[in-house]
Amino acid sequence: MSFDNLTISRIVIHEIYKRTDERDIVPPKYGTRLVILDQEAVDAFCDRIHSAMGSAAKSMELDIIQTGPDSSITNAKFLVDADDALFIERSRTIADKLTDAQMRRNLPGGVLVVFTGTASYPAKRIVGMIKAETHNGFTRRVTDDGAISLQFLKDLLLTPQTKLYKIGIFLQQDSQTVDPLPAGWQAFIYDDQISASNKLTAAQYFYEGFLGCGFPETSARRTREFHDYTKEFIQKLDWSEDEKIDLHNALVTYLKVDQSVTVQVSDFAHNYFPNSEMKDEYIRYMTERDFPQVAVVKDTSDISSALKYRKVTFAGEVKLTAPADRFKELVQIRAIDGEIDEDGKVPKWTEVVIRGRIRNQE
C-alpha cells in the first residue's frame, strides 16, 4: 500500500486548541463548508500526503483496535458514504475526538483537516485526518511603490516541513464485507514522533487515543522476515564472502543497535548499501517478497538468538562464533592467497584476526 493514484474529493477543516492551564478543553472552531482548492493547491496537498505516506516514507500500517460507535473508524465508515452536508456535520465529531484525545496540556493546537478520496489501483476509498500544527515564516511582498519587502506569516501550515503534521488514513480495502468493523478496513499513520526514537509515548495520543489504533501483532513476524529476506539478498549478491561481512554486520547493527522504533526497506538501503543500483535491486527484492515498503514496527523477539551471535563457517568445518553486535570490533576477516597446491593453483584462504587472547579451549 503506497497511496498511489491518489485523488482527493472533499476537504473540510476545523481548528482545535490546546487545553487551558487548568487542563480544561477549549472547544474546536468548526469549519462550516467544504474547502475548494485549485489544481495547484490540490497537487501540493497530495504532495504532502505522498511525502508522508508514500512508500519509502516513514508511515506505517497499524491495527484498528477501537471500533465502538464513537471510534474514528466508525466515523470514517460513515464519512465515505455521507453527502456533503453530512460529511461536514459528522467531521465535527472527529474534531471533538481529537480535542478529547489531547489530554496533556503541552500538546499544541492546530488545524484538523478531514478529507475523503481514493487511492491505489483499482481505486479504493479513503478517509484521512491530518493534524497540522501552525508555524511561522515569511513571504515577500511587493509594496505599492514597487519595492520588495518581507511579510511575516504566523499561521503557516502543511508546508513541506513534515515534522509539523500527523496523518491518519483509513482505507476501505473491501466494501462488500458484512463482518463487523474493523473488517474491510486498514489504517495507516504518519507521525514523525513515532519514527524518532524514544518518542513513542509522545505520539500515543494521536494513533491510540484519537485514531483508536495500536501497533500490529504481526510486528515480530515482519521483523523476522525483514531480517531473513535481507540476509538472503546479501547472500545472493555477486560478491565474495569476505566483502559481504560488512553488510551482514550492518543488518545486525540496524536491527539491534539502531534506536529507531521501526525498520524500513528504503531506510536500510539508503544507509547501508554502497550504490543506487544495489539500493533499487534490494527494494525490488523485498517488494517481490511482499514485504511492505512503509515502516514496520521493530520487534526482534523472534530473531533474538540470530542477533545475539554471528556464525561464520569456513571450509573444513572450521567455525567462528562471535557476539553479533560487537563482531565488527572484535573480528577482522580478510581473504588472502594461500600456498600453491599440487595442481599449481593458488587457493583462497582466510586470515582471521581476533582482538583478544584464547580464554578457553576444549
Binding site: G54, S55, A56, S266, A269, H270, S276, E277
Partner: protein
C-alpha cells in the same frame, strides 16, 4: 519568335506557370513531411522554398541574346519557373530526389547531376547542383487554371555549402561571357574542392553521431509510439525529451517497450495523469514522460540520482505512483 512574341506569350502564360510551380512545391513538401520525420520540414529545408518566375528581360535575354542556338527558344527554355531546395547534407538531396521521382503528376528528367559531372570531369571543381525539370504528365486543373501537359518547372537541389558557393559565383562566372582571370578561377575551384570535402565530412559526422545515439533514437521511437497509442496525443520532441532519454540510456534494458506496456498494465491510471497534465505542463507533452514514470517505478533511487532536471519536476511523478521522493 521575336522579342515581342516571347513577351506576349509569357504574359499570358505567367499565371499558369505560377500555379504549376506552387502545385509542384506543395506536393513535394507534403511528401517530404513524412519522409523526413522526426525532423519537421522547416528543420529539414534550410531555406524556405519560393517558386520564382523568370523576369521577362531575363527570358528575352536568354532566348535571343546569349548564343544558345534554340530552335524554339520559348519552348526550350525549361526554367521559366523554378524553385530551389537547400538542405544540409548530400544524403538529404537523395531524399528529395526520391520524392520527386515518384509523383504521377509529372514526368521527370534530370538536367544536371553533379555526381555524373564529377565522373565525367574528375579533375574539375566547378558549380555543383542537381537540376530536375518536371513536366505536367497530363492537363491538370489547379485553382481553376488549366496547366497544359508538358508544362516545365525547374527544381534545383543543393547543400547549404553548394548554395553558398553558387551565391558567390553564379551571376558573375557561370552566366558571364567574360572569363574571370585564371587566378580567380583557381581560387573558385579550390573553394569548391574544399566544399566537396567538407560535405563529405558532414556526412561522416552525421553517420557517426547516428551510430552513437542509436539506442536513444530507438528508445525515442518506442516512447513516441506508445505515447501516441495510450495518451492519444501527438508527442512533442523538444530538447528536454532527448536530455531525459539520454540520462537513462544505460539504465533501461533492451526491451523498453515490453517493460513500458507491462508497467502501464499494472498502473493504467498513469495514462490519465499524463493526459490531464499534458494540457498545461510541458514535460507531460514529451514522450519521455513515460520513461520517467517507468524508471521511477523500477529504479527509484537510480532515477533520482540520474535525473537531469530539478527535483520539483520529478516529485509529482513519484507522488502519482505512490512514492515519497525524499525517501530515496
Amino acid at each position: 519568335m521575336n522579342e515581342f512574341d516571347i513577351k506576349s506569350q509569357w504574359e499570358s502564360d505567367r499565371p499558369i506557370y505560377e500555379v504549376w510551380a506552387k502545385f509542384v512545391r506543395d506536393e513535394i513538401c507534403g511528401e517530404l513531411d513524412s519522409a523526413v520525420r522526426p525532423l519537421t520540414i522547416g528543420e529539414f529545408l534550410r531555406m524556405p522554398v519560393m517558386p520564382r518566375l523568370k523576369e521577362i528581360n531575363s527570358l528575352i535575354d536568354k532566348a535571343l541574346f546569349r548564343g544558345k542556338n534554340y530552335q524554339d527558344p520559348y519552348a526550350e527554355i525549361t526554367d521559366k519557373v523554378g524553385m530551389r531546395f537547400v538542405v544540409l547534407l548530400t544524403s538529404d538531396i537523395k531524399i528529395i530526389e526520391d520524392v520527386i521521382s515518384v509523383s504521377t503528376n509529372w514526368s521527370t528528367s534530370k538536367d544536371r547531376d553533379y555526381e555524373e559531372e564529377r565522373e565525367a570531369k574528375p579533375l574539375e571543381f566547378a558549380y555543383q547542383s542537381v537540376h530536375y525539370v518536371v513536366r505536367a504528365s497530363r492537363d491538370l486543373t489547379v485553382s481553376a487554371i488549366t496547366i497544359p501537359e508538358g508544362t516545365p518547372c525547374e527544381i534545383q537541389l543543393r547543400t547549404l555549402l553548394q548554395h553558398a558557393h553558387s551565391e558567390l559565383t553564379h551571376d558573375s562566372i557561370y552566366k558571364s561571357q567574360r572569363t574571370a582571370s585564371p587566378k580567380t578561377q583557381r581560387v573558385i575551384a579550390r573553394s569548391m574542392a574544399l566544399i566537396e570535402t567538407t560535405d563529405d565530412f558532414f556526412e561522416q559526422v552525421v553517420v557517426e553521431l547516428g551510430n552513437a545515439t542509436e539506442s536513444e533514437r530507438n528508445a525515442t521511437t518506442v516512447l513516441d509510439r506508445v505515447y501516441r497509442e495510450y495518451v492519444k496525443l501527438v508527442p512533442e520532441s523538444q530538447k528536454s525529451n532527448l536530455l531525459i532519454v539520454d540520462a537513462f540510456t544505460d539504465k533501461f534494458n533492451e526491451d523498453i517497450e515490453g517493460s513500458l506496456r507491462d508497467f502501464l498494465k499494472r498502473k493504467p491510471y498513469v495514462i490519465d495523469r499524463i493526459a490531464q497534465k499534458a494540457n498545461d505542463r510541458h514535460l507531460y507533452r514529451q514522450s519521455a514522460i513515460l520513461l520517467i514514470y517507468l524508471m521511477a517505478d523500477l529504479s527509484p533511487t537510480v532515477t533520482k540520482e540520474l535525473w537531469p532536471l530539478t527535483l520539483d519536476e520529478l516529485r509529482p511523478v513519484y507522488g502519482d505512483i505512490g512514492l515519497s521522493i525524499d525517501g530515496f
